[in-house]
Amino acid sequence: MTAVLSRGRSDAPVRSVPGRPAPRRRPTVAPTWFLLPALVVYALVVLYPSLAGSVLAFTDRSGFDPGEWVGLANFEKLLRDDAARAALTNTVAVAVVITVVQTTLGLLLALALNSAIRARNLMRTLFFAPMMLSPIIVGLLWQYIYTPGGPLDSTLEGLGLGFLTRSWLGSDGALWAIVASIIWHHVGIVMAIYLAGLQSIPPELTEAAQVDGAGAVRRFWYVTRPLLGQSTTIVIALTLTASFKLFDQMFVMTGGGPGVSTQTLSLVMYQQAFVYGEYGYGTAIALVLTMIVAAVVFVQLSITRRGEHQV
C-alpha cells in the first residue's frame, strides 16, 4: 500500500517556508466575540429553558397545579411503568436497527452513485428527494401505502408475491414497517454525507492501490473506508440522535399502537406531558432520554473518532 495516512486531527502548520520553522497562527480573541451573539441567543432560548425546565422532573407538577418537590419519585415511577419500559426497549431497538441499516444503505448508495454510472445525478436527486418532505407527510404517505389492499399489497400481488402481504401496521411487525419508512426518508442524507466524503478522497490513492493489485473490496476496505471515518462519525452521531428521539412517524402512523407495540420514549413523554398534563413525569422521561442520548453519542464519538483517518 503506497498511500500515507495520518491518524487523528492534523496539527500541520498553516504555511511553511523551506528552511524555517513553520509560523503558527497567533490565537486571536476576535472569533470568540463573533460567536458571542449566537451563544447568547442559544443560552437564552435553549440552555436556560432546558435547565430551568428540568427542575420540573423533580416535582409532581400537573395541569394547573404547580406541584411540590418529590425528589426522585418520577424516576422511580418510570422504572415501574410497563409502558415506559416497553417504549425504552422499542427506542433502543429502533435506534440500533436504523443506525446500522441506514448507514450501510447510505454508504452503498454513495459508492454506487460515486461511480461513472449513467444518470447518476438524477439518481442522487431521486434518493435525496424524500429528505425534502416533512416527517408528518412521510408518515401519512406510508400509512396509506401500508393500508390493507393498498399500494404495497397491490404491488406485491402484481409481482406474484401476494404471500408477502400482511397487516403492515396492525401487527407486531408495525414497528419495523415504520422503521422501513424512516430509512426511506433519511437514507438520502446519509448518502449525501458519504458522497461528500468520497469526493474528498484523492483518486490517486485508490489508483495506487489498484496498481498494487488490490481488488475492489480491498481498495474499499483499506483505502476508502478509513478515509470515510469522519463521514461515518457524523452519520452515526446524527442517525443515533434522530433515532432515539423518534416521534413524528410513530405519532402519525400508529399513535404508538397496536397496543403499545410502537411506543417510543418520545411518544410516552409527549403523552404524559401534553395529553395528560403530567409535566413532572413527562419532564423526567425527557431528562432520562436526554441522558441516554448524550451517553450513547459520547461513547459512539469516542469509538468512531479513533478510526478517523485523514489524507
Partner: protein, 428 residues
C-alpha cells in the same frame, strides 16, 4: 316670562334630562346585546374549526365594532396549546374546551384551576339541556356555552343495504341478521379503522351508552364511591364481548388494526363495506366519499340489546368558554349571545355536521338530526364515556387494551383490569 316661570322651566328641563339619563343608564346593561355598538376593542377567539364560526363573524364585528382575532387548530393540539397559554397567562378571551375532564384543558379541570368565567347569568343559559350539567357545571354554576352536539351513530351505505335487502336494525339480534345478510351479499358488513386508535372508542362508546349508562345508570356513582369497578360491571364486560364478537365472527374488514379511520370510511362510501360507526362530526367527510352524497348514506343508532327502548346514543356537546382573565370579557359574552340566536346556533351546528346543542335552536332537517331527535326528546342519551372519566389516561388504557385484545395479547379481563388500574392511578 317671569323669573318664577323660568325657574319652573329650568327645573322641568333638568328633571327631564336627569330622567332621560337615568333611563339610558338603567337600560345600559340590558341593552348590551341589543345595542352593543359601543363595545369595540379586540376579541381573541381560539377554536378547533373555522366551519360555522367564520360566517358569523362579519355581522358580529359590524354590530359591535369588535375586531375578532381567530386561531383555528385541531382540537387535541389546541387543547395542549391552551393549557400552556393558560399557565402563562396568554390564553385568548374565548376558546374551545372539551366536556368534563377528558383533557387537562377540559371544562371542569379549568373550573378547578379558576380559569373560567361563571356564565350562569347569561341569557342563553336557560336553553342549555340539563343533561349537560355533569360536563359543564360545578357548585351549581354554569361555565361553558355548548356550541353544538356530537352523536356517535352507525352510518350505512344505502346501496349496500338495498343489495342485501335489509333495513336499519333496531335490536342487537336484528343487527346480527343484517350483518349476516350483508355478508351473504358479498359486502363487508362493518368497516373498523382501528389503526387510528381513537377510532376504537366509537363502537365501544356506542355499545356502552346502552349497556352501561342505560342499563346500569348508577355505575359511575358506584365507581366513584369504590363500590364497583370496570371488571365488576356486567355492562362493560358485555360491551367488550359484543365488540370483539363482531370481529371474531367475521363481520368486519379483515384487518381492523391495519386500517386507518379514513380508508374505513372510504370503504363505506364506495360500497365495499356497509356500515361505519363514527361521530356525527365525521359526516361531512363521509358524505364526500359517497357518490350520491346524502342520498346514498343512511344513519341509525347502534342497538346493543334486544329491546329497542333500551337503546341509548352517545351525545356530547362541544364548548366555548370565557377566560376568567379575558382582556375583553364584555365582547366575549356578547359573542356568545350573538351565536346563541336560534338560527345562528343551528347554522353553526349544521356547518359542523353536528346537532344544535341549545334547546331553542332551530331544528335541522338532515338524516343525522332526524335519526337522533327521538333519543334527545326521550333523554336516551349519555355523554361520550371519556367525557365522564376523570382523566385521559383511562381512555388511553382502553384504546391500547382494545388493540391488544384484537392482537390476541390480552383478554377482556385484562382489558377491564387495565381500565381499573388507570382509574385508580388518576383518582389517586
Amino acid at each position: 316670562m317671569s323669573h318664577r316661570t323660568l325657574i319652573r322651566l329650568a327645573a322641568v328641563a333638568t328633571a327631564a334630562t336627569l330622567a332621560a339619563s337615568l333611563a339610558a343608564c338603567a337600560s345600559g346593561d340590558a341593552a348590551a346585546g341589543d345595542d352593543p355598538g359601543s363595545l369595540g376593542g379586540t376579541l381573541t377567539l381560539a377554536t378547533s374549526s373555522e366551519a360555522g364560526i367564520s360566517p358569523l363573524l362579519p355581522d358580529f364585528e359590524s354590530d359591535t365594532g369588535v375586531e375578532v382575532e381567530t386561531t383555528f387548530a385541531e382540537a387535541g393540539a389546541l387543547g395542549e396549546q391552551l393549557t400552556i397559554q393558560l399557565n402563562a397567562g396568554t390564553a385568548p378571551d374565548l376558546f374551545r374546551s372539551a366536556p368534563g375532564r377528558a383533557a387537562p384543558s377540559a371544562v371542569l379541570n379549568l373550573v378547578d384551576a379558576g380559569k373560567l368565567l361563571d356564565l350562569s347569568g347569561q341569557p342563553w343559559a336557560e336553553h342549555v339541556p340539563s343533561a349537560f350539567a355533569p360536563l359543564q357545571e360545578a357548585d351549581g354554576k354554569l361555565y361553558a356555552y355548548p356550541t353544538f352536539g356530537q352523536a356517535i351513530l352507525a352510518f350505512y351505505n344505502v346501496a349496500a343495504f338495498d343489495k342485501a335487502g335489509v333495513e336499519p336494525p333496531t335490536t342487537w339480534s336484528e343487527l346480527i341478521d343484517v350483518l349476516d345478510a350483508l355478508k351473504a351479499a358479498g359486502v363487508t358488513p362493518l368497516s373498523f379503522g382501528f389503526a387510528d386508535n381513537y377510532v376504537t372508542q366509537f363502537p365501544t362508546y356506542a355499545l356502552a351508552s346502552s349497556l352501561v349508562n342505560g342499563l346500569e345508570p348508577d355505575f359511575y356513582d358506584e365507581l366513584a364511591s369504590g363500590e364497583t369497578s370496570f371488571a365488576e360491571s356486567d355492562g362493560w364486560r358485555e360491551t367488550f364481548e359484543k365488540l370483539f364478537s363482531l370481529i371474531d365472527d367475521g363481520y368486519t374488514n379483515a384487518d381492523p388494526l391495519g386500517t386507518p379511520g379514513d380508508p374505513a370510511m372510504q370503504a363505506v362510501g364506495t360500497g365495499e363495506a356497509a356500515i361505519v360507526i363514527m361521530p356525527s362530526g365525521a359526516a361531512p367527510t363521509l358524505v364526500g366519499f359517497v357518490p350520491d352524497g346524502w342520498d346514498g348514506l343512511g344513519v341509525f343508532a347502534l342497538p346493543a340489546t334486544d329491546d329497542p327502548s333500551e337503546t341509548f346514543i352517545p351525545f356530547s356537546p362541544d364548548y366555548l368558554v370565557v377566560n376568567a382573565d379575558a382582556k375583553n370579557r364584555d365582547a366575549a359574552l356578547a359573542f356568545l349571545e350573538h351565536i346563541s340566536d336560534p338560527d345562528r346556533a343551528s347554522e353553526l351546528a349544521e356547518a359542523q355536521g353536528a346537532i344544535p346543542a341549545l334547546k331553542n335552536a332551530t331544528p335541522i332537517d338532515n338524516p343525522v338530526n332526524e335519526s337522533i331527535r327521538s333519543y334527545l326528546q326521550e333523554e336516551h342519551t349519555s355523554p361520550f364515556q371519556n367525557h365522564i372519566w376523570p382523566g385521559g389516561q383511562l381512555a388511553a388504557a382502553m384504546m391500547a387494551g382494545i388493540q391488544q385484545v384484537i392482537q390476541g395479547e390480552k383478554d377482556v379481563d385484562g382489558l377491564l383490569a387495565d381500565m381499573d388500574a388507570a382509574y385508580a392511578e388518576i383518582t389517586g
